[in-house]
């Protein structure tokens, strides 16, 4: 058994090594600089390695060493507020070690070994422990209590448990058989963490975005995809979700995206306050930033790094949401590596295992009963960047087969500055039914019907629009003109939402309900008035209609809406009186 070999061949991020005894997915240190790589193929005594760092200047014959470990992440206190690259190296530490530019051959621990955490035990000597049990807590950030878990494979009786300040790699608990536990554990990223049971999602993820919460909700523990051509607002939507989702923990993976946008996130998140707790959003967030010009193999790994961290917090009993921007870049990284390996390509050059990898990833979402007995969930929201905005390409299609919610971004809407530019006709959510009881209880028993009525109206609008395109709107009968107007109100007053407006950026469920209800009831009243003989010109001129347009921007929403509803009553009463 040799664990030292040498490089045989180098072609970009793919390196073939020889003379080393390896297992699939072992992490190896390649070359004189010890570049990190992962075994992805074995043939005879040669192993194929994808290297997570730049390989310029590396020569055949340089030594290779096998660590014998799979690609793993460090899990423990200190994950929150961190900013990692694709293989869990903290970017601030990298900056300190190698300056403003990413150089290579530098390793950095995912968790700080210096920082001490105040550990409070929850168990005592003699207790029997199983994998996944909670042994104590650490206050990780102001509002998040980090629950220290027994690694899934370990069980035994406690012979000693400590209390007080410790570093993550110091022993806090000893078992009867001599095994020791620290606050940190490692977990291989490509392997899902075990749970005791998968549950059915039943509560919606509240995002404060009207088109999402109101029209196409995703459940906590569900999966959603946002495909859209460039410039249709994918990233803004993802960032809005990361900012306002009502989960306790957010993992945001910037996978192969723009450096300047990542910088924007890094600057903005510490500044924004969580609407629930009033604390900076960063305190509940883990960021993974692997921009498009960082090594491609690390991009491939970044998605797994992110979901493993999400699973760890889920196992503590938290609701976690994970945003991956963009899964297309991840798939492209797979394609690039696959083509370097000269594998037989599937559709559009993507490897034949693309569909399997995508579904494996999305399957790691879900609501679960964790080994500790607590309920937790991971909601996965993946952005897809279809080439040319063509939804028939392999990544979009394979993703749609798996996810339950589809938010179709539309470049046409973006061009007319309708934001969020999610097409209400093409999008769908398969959770609306399962979430019905929740809405009845927490929003209003009228909500589901109200939503369906609004959707029906929008559908009707699109049919009428086809006629309008041919004959002009004046040629329609008056009641249909009114229908068009109400649909326009739903689109502009309800669906449109300004992510950059201090009030409108987040819209609670209650406000969504009241706003939609007011618009719909304006529509009902208007139709009644029309039937009663009121001229349509007068109805269109009502002040209450224009007032409804701007009420979403009001700080004192309820008061403002009350005034408008009053005006509305008066105006329609007057119309009837005529």
């Amino acid at each position: 058994m040799k664990n030292k070999g040498e490089i045989y061949r180098i072609s970009g991020p793919v390196v073939i090594i020889t003379g080393l005894n390896t297992k699939m997915y072992d992490v190896v240190k390649v070359g004189n600089e010890g570049l990190m790589g992962e075994v992805i193929g074995i043939e005879g005594d040669k192993s194929t390695v994808q290297v997570y760092e730049e390989t310029s200047g590396v020569r055949p014959g340089e030594p290779v060493e096998n660590t014998g470990m799979s690609l793993s992440v460090e899990l423990g206190p200190g994950l929150l507020e961190s900013i990692y690259d694709g293989i869990q190296r903290p970017l601030p530490v990298l900056k300190e070690k190698m300056g403003d530019f990413i150089k290579r051959g530098v390793s950095a621990n995912g968790l700080s070994r210096e920082k001490e955490w105040d550990f409070v035990p929850m168990i005592k000597k003699g207790d029997k422990l199983n994998g996944g049990d909670i042994i104590g807590t650490v206050q990780e950030t102001k509002n998040i209590e980090h629950r220290i878990l027994v690694p899934p494979a370990i069980s035994g009786t406690v012979s000693e448990i400590k209390k007080g300040k410790f570093k993550v790699d110091e022993v806090i608990c000893t078992l009867a058989d001599g095994k020791t536990l620290t606050m940190m554990q490692k977990w291989p990223v490509r392997k899902p963490r075990p749970v005791s049971k998968k549950l059915t999602p039943s509560t919606p993820l509240i995002t404060g975005q009207r088109i999402l919460d109101g029209m196409f909700p995703v459940a906590k523990g569900g999966t959603a995809a946002i495909p859209g051509p460039f410039g249709s607002g994918k990233t803004v939507t993802q960032q809005q979700l990361a900012k306002w989702s009502d989960t306790e923990i957010v993992v945001y993976i910037g996978c192969g995206e723009r450096g300047n946008e990542m910088a924007d996130v890094l600057y903005e998140f510490p500044e924004i306050k969580d609407p629930k707790t009033g604390r900076p959003l960063m305190e509940r967030t883990v960021l993974i930033a692997n921009t498009s010009n960082m090594p491609v193999a690390a991009r491939e790994a970044s998605v797994y790094t992110g979901i493993t961290i999400a699973e760890y917090y889920r196992d503590m009993g938290y609701d976690v949401s994970l945003m991956a921007d963009s899964t297309s870049r991840w798939a492209e990284a797979m394609r690039e590596i696959s083509s370097r390996l000269e594998e037989m390509p599937g559709e559009e050059g993507y490897p034949a295992y693309l569909a399997a990898r995508l579904s494996e990833f999305y399957e790691r979402a879900g609501k679960v009963k964790a080994l500790s007995g607590k309920d937790g969930s991971i909601t996965v929201i993946g952005a897809v960047s279809p080439p040319g905005g063509d939804f028939s390409e392999p990544i979009t299609q394979n993703t749609l087969r798996i996810v339950k919610v589809f938010w179709a971004l539309d470049a046409k809407l973006a061009q007319r500055r309708h934001f969020p530019s999610i097409n209400w006709l093409n999008s769908y959510s398969l959770y609306t039914k399962a979430l019905g009881p929740w809405y009845d209880e927490h929003v209003s028993p009228d909500w589901v019907k109200l939503r369906n009525d609004a959707m029906e109206l929008l559908q009707k609008e699109s049919e009428l629009q086809e006629i309008v395109q041919l004959v002009g709107s004046d040629a329609l009968p008056e009641d249909q003109q009114l229908t068009l107007e109400v649909a326009r109100m739903i689109r502009e007053y309800f669906l449109q939402q300004n992510a950059y407006h201090e009030v409108d950026t987040f819209c609670p469920m209650d406000k969504q309900f009241k706003l939609l209800k007011s618009i719909m009831s304006w529509g009902d009243k208007a139709h009644n008035a029309l039937d009663g003989g009121a001229p349509i010109e007068d109805i269109m001129k009502l002040k209450s209609k224009d007032d409804l347009a701007k009420v979403k921007y009001e700080k004192e929403f309820d008061t403002a809406l009350g005034v408008i509803l009053k005006t509305m009553e008066d105006e329609f009463a007057k119309l009837r009186g005529k």
């Binding site: 310029s56 200047g57 403003d100 910088a263 492209e332 080439p387």
Partner: protein
Amino acid sequence: MTKEYKTISQIAGPLIFVEKTEPVGYNELVNINLPDGTTKRGQVLDTSNDIVVVQVFEGTGGLNRDCGVRFTGETIKLPVSKDLLGRILSGAGEPLDGGPRIVPEDRIEITGAAINPYARLPPKDFIQTGISTIDGMNTLVRGQKLPIFSGSGLPHNEIALQIARQARVRGSNEPFAVVFAAMGITNEEAQYFMSDFERTGALERAVVFLNLADDPAVERLITPRLALTAAEYLAYEHDMHVLVILTDITNYCEALRQMGAAREEVPGRRGYPGYMYTDLASLYERAGVVKGRKGSVTQFSILSMPGDDITHPIPDLSGYITEGQIVISRELHRKGIYPPVNVLPSLSRLMNSGIGATRTREDHKAVSDQCYAAYAEGKDLRGLVAIVGKDALSERDKKFLEFADMFEDRFVRQGIDENRDIETTLGIGWELLAELPEAQLTRIDNKYIQKYHPAHKAKQE
């Protein structure tokens, strides 16, 4: 290290295969000595104990199996110094202007390392280009990469030059430089750029890299990297604000495809290599502002869309990397409008951080959004008018139709030397919006209407 090998086993297109070498580094620079005494340069693409694959930058013409191959032991580096300013170099970095060789202060690897995202500063300094469609509707900021998506026969060169002439950050007099890299453009186009640089005196603060249409295609793969290395050096070592103009990205991608085919790689969409996204990203992402450093690199690349097709892999992948795009329209060009920028598919992703009360003016976003919405609606109505005639439109719709025409005529159209400041641009926007019924201005906050709408403004004064 300078052992010469005479073991070329195969020459295929731009590639040579060398056998029985001592270990050779990946991406290493290679000198190839021809029997006639000339030297060509190349780069290692694939290396193993048995065989080394080298791509030859000047093309493999004249090579045979007797050529000597020397591996230099280092990757390709650009000699840099402040004296680069004012120089004209070839696509491979050799002086073309008859001047002396650059006496280097440093030699920098041209592949360039990725900026640590944590070390980046989000770009937010407004660059005024003097062009309304850009400043008003798709604002450029320092550190951004904003390409022009154009087509053959459209005036993208004029627009790029106008921007290079007029671009400045308001109220600042900081040192400013232009790095211009031509990839496979014609001699005539190159002359046009050069004479404009000379006419306006811009050459003194410019570095020019020229790879022309008849220069070897493989050289195009290093030209933009040389240019960006020079730009980063001037920006981060000499605190300059550098505007990089790369033209034409399409030629670069063609060269990439050619290399991929020569290496018998599995092709991706339309024969372009599967790694084209990563490769393009390694160019585009070399723009930005770094914390604690004064300079910045802003990219303004030109990309001609084959067949005016924005879904073609080159513009498509570019659009996913760059922070927006300026789209040139053949329709507007045919109408005789300069600059024929179609604002609807154009976009600047960093616009919101570069505008507003402290940077441009408080009503900027509102005016821009309203113009966008109104113009989009007006343009839609044109389709309707073609079917039902203008008379069938409602009064409201007629106003929007007129708005679209006026918008193209007064807001989009401007002179090739007309340098509009942002107040002028927004002023024109307001004049046009004033033609619409005030109740239709739903995107604009009432307080801005009171303050800037010509009707109310006149009352106040």
